[in-house]
């Protein structure tokens, strides 16, 4: 097994370059492994889009996907919280996942959705541009982000999955939701 060359430290804005980078590096090693390896465990993901990029979350953390209703802003709430919404009589906090990843705040459109996730016994909603599908991916197709390059915006990425021609960025929800809010450089 060859060790992939150490990926360069990404700057905050070129998050997607970084994802491409680690994917490319591991691809060779992976195709090699694929030829020899028997059936592997499957990972169920829900895939969604932010701008042109595709992201994935473990299906096990997802409770449901809902349409975007009225979101009420909460004064003095942290920047990455878009507000709260009514989920069948309960108050659901809606996370502005885009600003968390260094993108501009969302402008909800007809395809926008809120993915309701449960992480560490807490239920929050993630505002995404659209939800594409539920996928099964062999765990061998997931390339974990090397620890030494986890930083800045990439801190919220746990790995990258390669599926046919698609590149799916896997998010580390626990870090994204509960890590102290570090300043993410936003594209100027």
């Amino acid at each position: 097994m060859t060790t992939p060359a150490r990926a360069a430290r990404p700057s905050g804005a070129n998050l997607f370059d970084f994802a491409d980078q680690i994917a490319a590096q591991a691809q060779a090693a992976q195709s090699l492994a694929q030829a020899t390896e028997p059936a592997v465990a499957q990972l169920q993901l829900i895939a969604f889009r932010l701008d042109a990029e595709e992201f994935g979350l473990p299906l096990a953390t997802v409770r449901e996907v809902i349409r975007v209703g009225d979101i009420t802003r909460v004064p003095q709430a942290p920047e990455h919280i878009r507000g709260v919404t009514n989920l069948r009589g309960r108050i659901l906090s809606v996370v502005e996942i885009r600003t968390r990843l260094g993108l501009n705040a969302a402008v909800p459109g007809p395809r926008s959705r809120i993915i309701v996730v449960e992480v560490q016994h807490r239920v929050v909603g993630l505002l995404v541009d659209s939800v594409s599908q539920v996928l099964k991916i062999g765990v061998d197709r997931v390339i974990p982000a090397p620890d030494e390059v986890r930083s800045e915006a990439s801190d919220h990425i746990s790995g990258v999955a390669h599926l046919d021609q698609r590149l799916i960025i896997l998010l580390d929800l626990e870090r994204m939701l509960f890590a102290p809010n570090r300043a993410v450089p936003s594209p100027s």
Binding site: D70, T72, P75, I81, V84, R90, I91, S93, V124
Partner: protein
């Protein structure tokens, strides 16, 4: 709902049954101590107390809780001696009884969390044995009667100990979480119902003359009245007498007073006043802070009191009374009072606003800055717990005030809502955002006319009931981000304790009883918002925290 294991439920039953008994026994021993100290060697109640202890022992044995069992047994022995031997009716023996009963209370209260400490229990039993081994002078020496230890006996005892009301009144025991679930559903019904008047209004506008409109109106009005009745019936099921909280303070004050070498008598009044259990669960801590402060800092030593011509024994009074939709709890001591000068000196050092006379100065003791460890010994004592106590009361939607007279004592007045779940509120609109303002903190709403609100040094000021108050812009304070808006039409005068502040809003939407929902921790801890609610149209509105808003630094 998670179903705890069978043993967990049994433990809860054990606590529910035994804790009140142990607390009652403790209180009775406290009274005995007082009487014996005053030379009245009465012990009529002891026979009954011994029976209660026997029940506690039996119940503990059935649960396999040996530490409680042996403590109860030792206390029974002491009771037996007290009944048989007049000479044993002295304060030292009473102190032993109080200590043991207090230990029982602690053990039972902690039974769900951790196993009781056998070492403490055995230590106590050993001391009882030693005390009883010494025949009291002039003792007629009646050995304690041997205990009937058979299980059947215990069971019979247990049956007998059940309060007659349980059998006669058809009482059932219900897990409080079920009542919470019921309230939650009721809340949803209330939200749905609150959408009706708007639908009715729109329907009436479209087909005003059809006869069904009048019928619908009657139904909507009748439904509202029924929901009100349902609400109060539901609330009644959640009410408990405040005595359940007061009960734990007798021993606490006594122990603390002893440690401080002070003579203090705690008097409670209005223990029958009813409050929502959810509130009762959260006022114990702040009351404890206030009482602790009073014992340690408020009350003088017996010698000093005598020098001042006061009775050597200080009186602490804890009382409760029901107002129309609030409950007032007061904590009164007859100690030295607050040291106004020192408070002011501290406040100036912290750069706090010190205007407004002695009462306003006393209010400063709730400032967190004044409760630094250093100030505890300087600011006439009132220190460490007060800011925390005040914060806890405010978090409940209540208020706390203090009055003090030099060498006469201090009065803390707490005003508490009857329930946490439903809030009478005023809905206001600021830059198209709707907020619920608790009516309990609204002094008045004022229509803004030209020249009502003046800008002085960039801050809004208005004359209100003869004095100048700060008037903050709702949009700026709540961060609506609206850049240019028309002048606001109203300001709402919010108050919390002695502080007041106006809040400029665009529109007063109306009064509404809203169901309080808490905010997720991911939202941080906003100062200006205490929770959220769902309005009739399904949208979420934040509930403004009046206390936080009046305390905010002034904004233009």
């Amino acid at each position: 709902m998670d179903s705890g294991n069978a043993f967990g439920d049994l433990t809860q039953d054990y606590i529910a049954e035994c804790l009140p008994l142990a607390e009652a026994v403790t209180d009775a021993f406290l009274q005995l101590e007082r009487r014996w100290r005053e030379g009245d060697a009465e012990a009529d109640s002891v026979v009954e107390l011994k029976r209660t202890l026997h029940t506690l022992k039996g119940n503990s044995a059935m649960m396999g809780l040996r530490p409680m069992q042996i403590v109860a047994h030792a206390l029974e022995d002491v009771c037996a001696r007290v009944v048989a031997d007049v000479a044993a009716r002295k304060p030292e023996i009473a102190a032993l009884l109080i200590e043991g009963a207090g230990l029982l209370v602690d053990q039972i209260r902690g039974a769900a969390e951790s196993p009781a400490d056998p070492v403490r229990a055995e230590g106590f039993v050993a001391r009882v044995a030693a005390a009883l081994a010494v025949p009291t002078p002039g003792s007629r020496d009646v050995p304690p009667a041997p205990e009937p230890a058979d299980r059947a006996g215990l069971r019979l005892e247990r049956r007998r100990s059940e309060r007659p009301a349980d059998a006669a009144g058809g009482m059932i025991r219900v897990d409080f979480r079920r009542l919470d679930a019921l309230l939650e559903i009721f809340g949803e019904a209330m939200i749905e119902q609150s959408a009706l008047p708007e639908v009715y209004r729109r329907l009436a506008a479209r087909c005003g003359s059809c006869p069904e409109i009048g019928e619908l109106d009657r139904v909507v009005v009748a439904l509202r009245a029924t929901m009100k009745r349902l609400e109060s019936a539901l609330m009644d099921t959640r009410l408990l007498p405040i005595a359940t909280v007061f009960a734990r303070f007798n021993r606490l004050v006594r122990d603390l007073a002893q440690a401080e070498r002070k003579q203090i008598r705690l008097v409670t009044e209005g223990g029958e006043t009813l409050l929502d259990k959810a509130i009762l669960d959260r006022i114990g801590e702040p009351l404890l802070h206030l009482l602790t402060n009073a014992v340690i800092h408020g009350v003088e030593s017996a010698e000093e009191r005598l020098r001042q011509g006061k009775p050597p024994e200080a009186t602490l009074m804890l009382s409760a009374a029901a107002l129309s939709d609030r409950v007032m709890v007061t904590v009164v001591d007859d100690g030295r009072g607050l040291d106004t000068e020192r408070i002011l000196a501290q406040a100036r050092a912290l750069d706090l606003d010190v205007g407004g006379g002695a009462d306003a100065a006393h209010g400063l003791i709730f400032q967190p800055g004044l409760s630094t460890a250093e100030s505890v010994s300087h600011v006439a004592g009132r220190g460490i717990g007060l800011a925390a106590a005040a914060a806890a009361i405010h978090a409940l939607g209540g208020s706390i005030e203090v009055r003090s007279r030099p060498s006469r004592g201090v009065v803390f007045t707490l005003t508490l809502p009857l329930t946490l779940a439903i809030l009478r509120s005023l809905i206001v609109e600021v830059d198209q955002e709707r907020y619920a303002v608790p009516l309990s903190h609204v002094a008045e709403t004022v229509r803004v006319e030209p020249n009502t609100v003046h800008a002085i040094d960039g801050r809004g000021v208005a004359m209100w009931r003869g004095s100048a108050i700060n008037v903050a812009d709702g949009g700026a304070l709540l961060g609506t981000g609206a850049t240019h808006s028309a002048p606001r039409n109203y300001f709402v005068v919010l108050f919390s304790g002695p502080r007041r502040r106006g809040l400029l809003v665009d529109r007063l939407v109306g009064h509404q009883d809203v169901v309080v929902k808490s905010l997720d921790p991911s939202l941080g801890r906003p100062d200006v918002v205490s929770g959220a609610t769902i309005l009739g149209d399904g949208r979420v509105a934040c509930i403004l925290d009046a206390t936080g808003i009046v305390a905010q630094r002034e904004v233009a």
